[in-house]
Amino acid sequence: MSKAHDTIFRTLADPTRRAIFERLCRDGEKTVGAITERAGVSQPVVSKHLGVLKQAGLVRGRQQGRETHYSAEIKALAPLVDWTGKMTGFWEARLDSLEDLLKRMDQ
């Protein structure tokens, strides 16, 4: 699997983080406070998740006064929903198995 896919999958594997991301996709731009109200976790935890999402390129922050408004970078997901991206990951994994098999065939 490519590095970009790997990062996105790992980032979104966490259910809380995924819920935050899905909410931003659905409802548009939100402040940390607004996200926390419905996240079921504390504000520092939400901020930490947003930091990870931001690092993965999945959200962007916009400073306005003392508050940061976060929104989803939906375009960052494009490689995942494109079948060529999926199939590249599929073939890389299958060819790893093929090489393992070839090694076993020697024995």
Binding site: E22, I74, L80, V81, K86, G89, L98, E99, L101, L102
Partner: protein
């Protein structure tokens, strides 16, 4: 050859440290194919129709298109879904070239999807539902 605008190609290339003869066996013997690819009823005869059955429950419809022992193997790779938007029609071609250290393997998949909506034909079993959800989100206007 004219190709529809939404035809896409995936190419994976690898240098394999094994002979073309051995690699060819792994690519064409059903019990070996099952070990690295999927359960199947493959036969290396042009025109033979077979299925590849994925662990995620999906079944691919395939037909052997080209068999050049130790050099080229090609078959169709179609995924039919009740929602036509998820259908995938594609062709997979394996090309083997003998090298000093083994074999250079090139895997090419050229596919055609009838709509812009994305196929769930990949084998990311557990991720498919999630990806479909993301797909729905992506097709919303920004």
């Amino acid at each position: 050859m004219t190709t529809p605008a939404n035809t896409r190609t995936v190419v994976i290339e690898r240098d394999i440290a094994h002979s073309p003869e051995k690699l060819w066996r792994a690519l064409t013997q059903p019990h070996l194919m099952e070990e690295w690819l999927m359960k199947n009823d493959f036969q290396p005869n042009v025109g033979h129709k077979f299925n590849l059955r994925g662990e995620w429950g999906g079944v691919l419809d395939c037909e052997v298109l080209e068999v050049e022992p130790l050099e080229t193997l090609s078959y169709s790779w179609d995924y039919r879904h009740e929602d036509p938007a998820y259908n995938l029609r594609s062709v997979v071609t394996f090309t083997l070239t003998k090298t000093a250290t083994g074999t250079h393997l090139r895997v090419e998949q050229t596919g055609f999807q009838p709509t812009q909506k994305q196929a769930a034909a990949g084998a990311y079993a557990g991720w498919n539902q999630f990806l479909e959800k993301l797909d729905q989100l992506l097709t919303r206007p920004e």
